[in-house]
Symmetry: C2
Subunit: 359 residues, 2 copies
């Protein structure tokens, strides 16, 4: 059996298998990253919902269990000024659900906790010097980006269009993720603003590969050996896989989320902005049906999540995912329930088998 047809990402990140476990804020921590990196892929720790202190603890835990390369991931949205009028209007739309669930509509809700990359997080990067740092929603300001690059980290960004990929390369990214419309969770969209015009993985990956010189990492709809092999045919040098890892015991999702995810099919996820204020793909549920999928009333990212949080908590306590952001891509059905390290090895073996023998 021969090796991988394209070694650019393997050589760049110094990993053995061209599989990046997608950083999933709120759904994975160091345990999953350790398992994937130890298996030879690239594990990722998402920091968007962590404090710098929590990030330090996860990094310390990773380093204690693995000497392998690691990807540290950050959001880098520009925080919007508070908009109390908008927040109140959004809350008002949710009042009937508060009443239905026996919650006090007058109670203060906590602010949403998805924070952009900043000085404090940059200090964490400088302290731990991960092999790879990835950004979602564009890139941080140049001063911070330069500091990250000065640590020797390879920097990658996520593009949902060719134009975004070209921009990321121009800003100095060492590789770009081509995030097709099939992908679960938040769309990285930062130049693009029309959800309806977002391209699928099949169309996006080769056009990005034609437009940039850095290696391309395919994401969106990839969950088994067949789809990894297909990504390589489209000129990807690696894949980033999210949803399939949610089925692993290392995922820290609620039992309600896990149960809902088992119902995800090819045709029952949509891109919605109601859960956070930014477009993200998730399983169609009551909240999406009644409030979205796209709502002009949703406060700016990440504030839309704030008023929904008590509803999510109360509904989950009753065993329902009515108000849960069940992020999922369109290929959840291809997933299997197995530990993250074993999943990484199985996917790689099946992709090589398909690339070299299935012809």
């Amino acid at each position: 059996m021969s090796g991988w047809p394209d070694r650019r990402i393997l050589d760049l990140f110094k990993i053995e298998l061209p599989i990046i476990q997608a950083p999933m804020a709120g759904a994975n921590l160091s345990a999953m990253a350790i398992a994937v990196s130890e298996a030879g892929g690239l594990g990722s720790i998402p920091c968007a919902m962590l404090t710098p202190q929590q990030a330090r603890e996860e990094l310390a835990n990773f380093r204690q269990h693995s000497k392998k390369p690691l990807n540290l991931n950050f959001f880098c949205h520009v925080p919007q000024a508070p908009d109390a009028v908008r927040d109140v209007a959004w809350k008002k739309k949710l009042d009937k659900y508060y009443a239905e669930l026996g919650l006090d509509p007058g109670a203060t809700v906590a602010a949403a906790n998805r924070a952009p990359f900043d000085e404090a997080m940059c200090a964490v990067v400088e302290e731990f010097r991960p092999q790879v740092v990835s950004f979602h929603f564009g890139l941080p300001e140049k001063k911070l980006l330069d500091r990250v690059k000065a640590t020797g980290a390879k920097v990658i960004g996520s593009a949902t269009t060719v134009a975004e990929a070209v921009w990321l390369e121009q800003q100095g990214c060492d590789a770009v993720i081509a995030q097709g419309v099939e992908a679960g969770g938040h769309r990285s969209m930062f130049l693009a603003n029309d959800v309806a015009a977002q391209p699928g993985t099949f169309a996006l990956v080769p056009q990005v590969a034609d437009a940039v010189e850095v290696p391309v990492i395919a994401a969106g709809g990839i969950a088994d050996g067949r789809s990894i092999a297909a990504a390589f045919m489209l000129e990807a040098s690696a894949v980033q896989i999210g949803t399939a890892y949610l089925f692993c015991p290392e995922a820290i999702i609620s039992s309600v989320y896990k149960k809902a995810l088992a119902q995800a099919r090819d045709d029952n996820t949509v891109i919605t902005n109601i859960f956070s204020g930014r477009p993200a793909r998730g399983l169609v549920n009551r909240a999406i049906r009644e409030l979205g999928p796209i709502s002009d009333a949703a406060p700016a990212f990440p504030q839309a999540a704030a008023a929904l949080a008590p509803l999510k908590k109360a509904a989950e306590a009753a065993g329902r995912h009515d108000f849960t952001n069940v992020w999922s891509g369109q290929a959840a059905r291809l997933s299997r329930t197995v530990a993250a390290g074993e999943l990484t090895r199985q996917l790689a073996a099946e992709a090589l088998e398909r690339l070299y023998s299935k012809r």
Copy 2:
């Protein structure tokens, strides 16, 4: 060099190359089908906008120039009862454009000319006995379908979800087309009704392959050798390619359409219902921006096209595609300008090269 990794469609249709030229009503006739079939692929003649007599002429022309297999394609929507109130309201929305273009808003417009498969067309199939008959928007009533099958034709249908693919197999289709969301032109959707939940090619093809036993033909975002090779990795047995053939001299599209198509990129097409009443992917233009992309006011298929026709004609006469349905998939940018027969040969050679050497 070895042969194709999966020969099921080649054997079923008795063709040499696993490339089906997509039937494009209004954009191709027998000349393109002849070129593709003679090159070893499967040429298609779309009949949705032809009278039975015109279909006979195209078939006679094909047979005069080729003894190779041919695909005859039909729409099979259920015609809706005329709805004058709705038509008038739609026309009213367009009044300002009529005025702007110097047209008489009071002039009677011709009815839209996309007709479903019927007795008269079934007689054409029985007379010419094409190797393959394909249907869009589901399948015709059983009585007609049985007559088509009795001619010996292989019958294929187009699915936009796993559920639609399973249904088509249950109704007796010999193969199913998995039409990913990247595809240009009309979505085949006949059980599915939520455009926002339509899966991309990457997610759809392997899930359809897992769900049906008949061979799967991948469509959507396929326009070069890389994407054909990728489709085979996803377990497709052939591909159907539309947009790339619009760049061939055999395409009968207007020069305005051709010029607009050259501007199609990964991120400027959307699915719209304004041009016909059913969802179809096309280049974003003035009509889509100002009336759509999805409008509840659009009359049922195909009637929405009627009142737009004079606007399209007048704008095109002025060199503008403001009101033209510029159908295009998301991978138009991967296309080349070459004759249809040569394109078919090039695509096949490049796919084999990628499958066997690029590793």
